[in-house]
């Protein structure tokens, strides 16, 4: 697992039923492209996060296939419909098999 991988998400605390809200996510990860060489001229093997998903109460919002052209510390911004009170689950899948998850609750009032 890449060192110090930390997800960050921004989700509003509340919304009205059916409201469309903006979500922002950021995760610390080098996203080693597999194109770079180290000091000795050896190719550094690819090591990236290859998939990101966001679900709300087990219904999918977005499912992203990620490839090496995504920058270091991947950032996503997208919109979601909030039908009811519940929780957003954000999941990142690393090439090395690690899975990073963040859950944020939102109240519909």
């Amino acid at each position: 697992m890449a060192d110090n991988v930390k997800p960050k998400v921004r989700v509003p605390k509340t919304a009205s039923a059916g409201e469309v809200i903006t979500l922002k996510t950021l995760i610390s990860h080098p996203m080693e492209s597999g194109q770079r060489k180290d000091g000795d001229g050896n190719l550094i093997p690819r090591s990236i996060i290859n998939r990101f998903t966001c679900d709300f109460n087990e219904q999918n919002v977005i499912d992203v296939t990620m490839e090496p052209a995504i920058s270091t510390n991947p950032y996503f911004e997208f919109e979601a419909i909030v039908p009811e009170t519940g929780a957003f689950t954000f999941t990142w899948y690393d090439d090395d098999g690690s899975v990073y998850t963040e859950v944020q609750e939102i109240t519909v009032g």
């Binding site: 110090n4 930390k6 960050k8 921004r10 922002k24 950021l26 610390s28 920058s71 270091t72 510390n73 950032y75």
Partner: protein, 284 residues
Amino acid sequence: MTTTKLLKTAGLVAVLAYASSASAQDDSQLVINGEIEMITEVATQDYIGGLKTAYSGWRFRNSDMQAMQLDDFENPAAIAVDEGLASWSKVDGSEGKSCASCHEDLEASMAGVRAVYPKWNEEAGAVMTLASQINNCRTEQMGAEAWKYDGTEMTGMEAVISLQSRGMPVNVAVDGPAHDAWLKGEEIYYTRYGQLELSCANCHEDNADNYIRADHLSQGQINGFPAFRLKTGGLVQVQNRFKGCIRDTRAETFKPGSEEFVALELYVASRGNGLSVEAPSVRP
């Protein structure tokens, strides 16, 4: 020597090539998170001879890069700031202390600190930078090892401390006991270094707002440091940036933490007295 002469000519041509087509830096307003209004343009003090108005480096960036600094979540330094916050309360060293052990409330104890550094330290009998003060706390108060002067632990901590002064005007003292160091910094600023024989002033005073090849030259203000550089994908310590600049003149550079760079940091900071503390900023 022919080579030197050639290089010099090439450098000059590059600087001058765009001089006529240079666009003035824009007049955008920097408001962070929709609430912190930043001063990105201010009249300089009388003691700054060659510069009438100080502009934050933010004003020289294109709109896409400027936008990255408008919201803390979009500022890629966010991750480094989180790491800095974690190390603020992390116990280290023989005394069993963390920063938070002495400076309980981060916000209250560090508000305004970044704005006045580098500053004279009576006990040390020298001008100290924020970085040297942090290391002094580590070695003297915590019994911990000093961090690498321009390493990631240091830039993370500098960013966290700087954030508590964000929006406050830079206000470093240039007189009193710090005056000698300030004078030395001014001298370094105007000294030509390296094979290219360039001083700080050649690019950042004489040619600020012109282009050096594809780079839009700023005034080299340091109110945004430590700055997140897209080039390196991490926070860059201000003296590490100085080192990069001087190295680019093809000179042997001073070391981060050296007396020379401390003096230079004080002087360059004073060129931006009155600009808001903007760290951690986003730069190319």
